[in-house]
């Protein structure tokens, strides 16, 4: 099987358009996953069972079912309920929502690792719940969690091809479009694979560096 170099170069511009969308989707999705995950983690710790239980069940449902099906839901079913989201919006929301359930677990572990003494001291010094969270708990909980959170950032980046199923023109979709048009699959598919590898392998090295810097000494 020969590799057509001319063809590969010819399709680069179209693939590049896809890369831009992939990066966009990853960054937006990460922003949602990071913030929503924190909110979920805090909600699950709520003393109020009417909050913690439903949130818990909802998170489990999202974590235990495929992202692909969730994306179909957001894209095809929501309009029937009156909410029409653009493909990218639906994709970013689906990605962010799905991964927020994972980041929530990371936050939970980090928050749980805060010694009880910190909570008690906050109470003793009359800090409000808000102040406790923003000044005491979160600043201590987050640094050790950074490697795990960064890991999910990379994971989300690799999952962006799923957005092709709801017509988002990210890299994989562009590659398929090119392949379908020219009846040539080898070059586009391999280039997509190489691109993802080219981003993941350096990020693994970066992640290891992050771990070395931020992970607690008892790991």
């Amino acid at each position: 099987m020969e590799w057509d170099w001319e063809f590969s170069i010819q399709i680069l511009p179209q693939l590049w358009e896809g890369v831009k969308v992939t990066i966009q989707a990853t960054i937006l999705g990460t922003m949602i996953a990071m913030t929503l995950g924190l909110l979920l983690a805090i909600a699950r710790r709520s003393a109020n069972e009417w909050i913690s239980r439903p949130v818990g069940v909802f998170a489990e449902l999202i974590r235990g079912t495929p992202l692909l099906v969730q994306l179909y839901f957001l894209f095809y079913v929501l309009p029937d309920l009156g909410l029409l989201l653009s493909p990218l919006t639906a994709g970013v929301l689906g990605l962010g929502l799905h991964y927020s359930t994972y980041t929530a677990e990371v936050y939970r572990t980090g928050i749980d690792a805060i010694p009880k003494g910190q909570w008690e001291a906050s109470k003793a010094t009359n800090l409000s719940a808000n102040q406790t969270w923003t000044h005491i708990i979160i600043p201590q909980a987050i640094p050790p969690m950074i490697p795990a959170l960064a890991n999910y950032f990379v994971a989300m980046f690799k999952e962006t091809p799923l957005l092709a199923a709801i017509t988002v023109l990210e890299l994989m979709n562009q590659a398929r479009s090119v392949a379908n048009y020219h009846y040539k699959y080898v070059e586009p598919m391999t280039m997509v694979g190489l691109f993802f590898l080219a981003v993941s392998v350096p990020s693994v090295i970066l992640l290891r560096k992050l771990e070395a810097r931020f992970a607690p000494s008892n790991s």
């Binding site: 099987m1 235990g64 495929p66 992202l67 962006t160 993802f196 993941s200 693994v204």
Partner: protein, 219 residues
């Protein structure tokens, strides 16, 4: 009304395929995880390097990309794969790469005294692994293996995109025949959730069973 029975039947057929792929994929993943995980601990530099290359390659790209490559490109390179084979192999090797790290981590977490005791008792390296190290390590691997199996289950949804008649694919078929999107998708969401919860329960039971007689799971 009997129409709906036919459609539920289709989805259940898809569920059977989903379960089949999950089980076969898990078997491939298990084999790959052990080979690669143990490979990374090998004394031979070449074996270590090959294991690392496999792990980073499959963790570096998403299941979607690997699946498409296996299904569309491999046949053109002379390796024809049916959708089922492509699905099981891609999923198995992908999850296996994550599992390999778990295997390696669990084996490394066995305290030194165990190894020293084996040397003292004059056990061969094989006996050491088979009777002392692995039984303890496997118990530690179980929780993460459980999560990995759930990831594999969720990953099977992607095979619908190469027209393999899994649950997600059949939901699309029902959707095409009935025009209703919400009902088939809600149904499979619930089924996926049911399956992932079942896996969690089975893993927990297995963990309990296998740690009998062991000196606690020793964190």
């Amino acid at each position: 009304m009997e129409q709906w029975q036919g459609y539920i039947g289709l989805i259940l057929q898809g569920a059977v395929v989903t379960i089949e792929i999950t089980i076969m994929g898990c078997i491939v993943a298990l084999i790959a995880a052990f080979i690669a995980g143990l490979g990374r601990l090998s004394r031979f530099w070449l074996v270590r390097w090959m294991a690392t290359a496999y792990i980073e390659f499959f963790r570096g790209t998403s299941i979607f990309v690997q699946l498409f490559w296996a299904y569309f490109v491999l046949p053109l390179l002379g390796v024809p794969l049916s959708p089922l084979q492509a699905g099981v192999i891609a999923l198995g090797l992908n999850i296996g790469a994550y599992g390999a790290e778990v295997v390696r981590g669990a084996i490394k977490s066995i305290p030194r005294e165990q190894y020293e005791a084996c040397t003292a008792l004059n056990l061969t390296r094989f006996q050491e692994m088979r009777h002392v190290i692995l039984p303890q390590a496997v118990v530690r691997m179980l929780p993460t293996f459980g999560n990995n199996s759930i990831e594999l289950l969720k990953g099977t949804a992607v095979v619908s995109l190469i027209s393999l008649s899994d649950m997600t694919f059949q939901a699309q078929v029902v959707r095409a025949q009935t025009g209703s999107t919400a009902v088939p998708f809600l149904t499979i969401l619930l089924l996926y959730f049911l399956f992932s919860s079942t896996i969690s329960t089975v893993i927990k039971r297995l963990e309990r069973h296998l740690s009998r007689g062991l000196d606690g799971t020793g964190t």
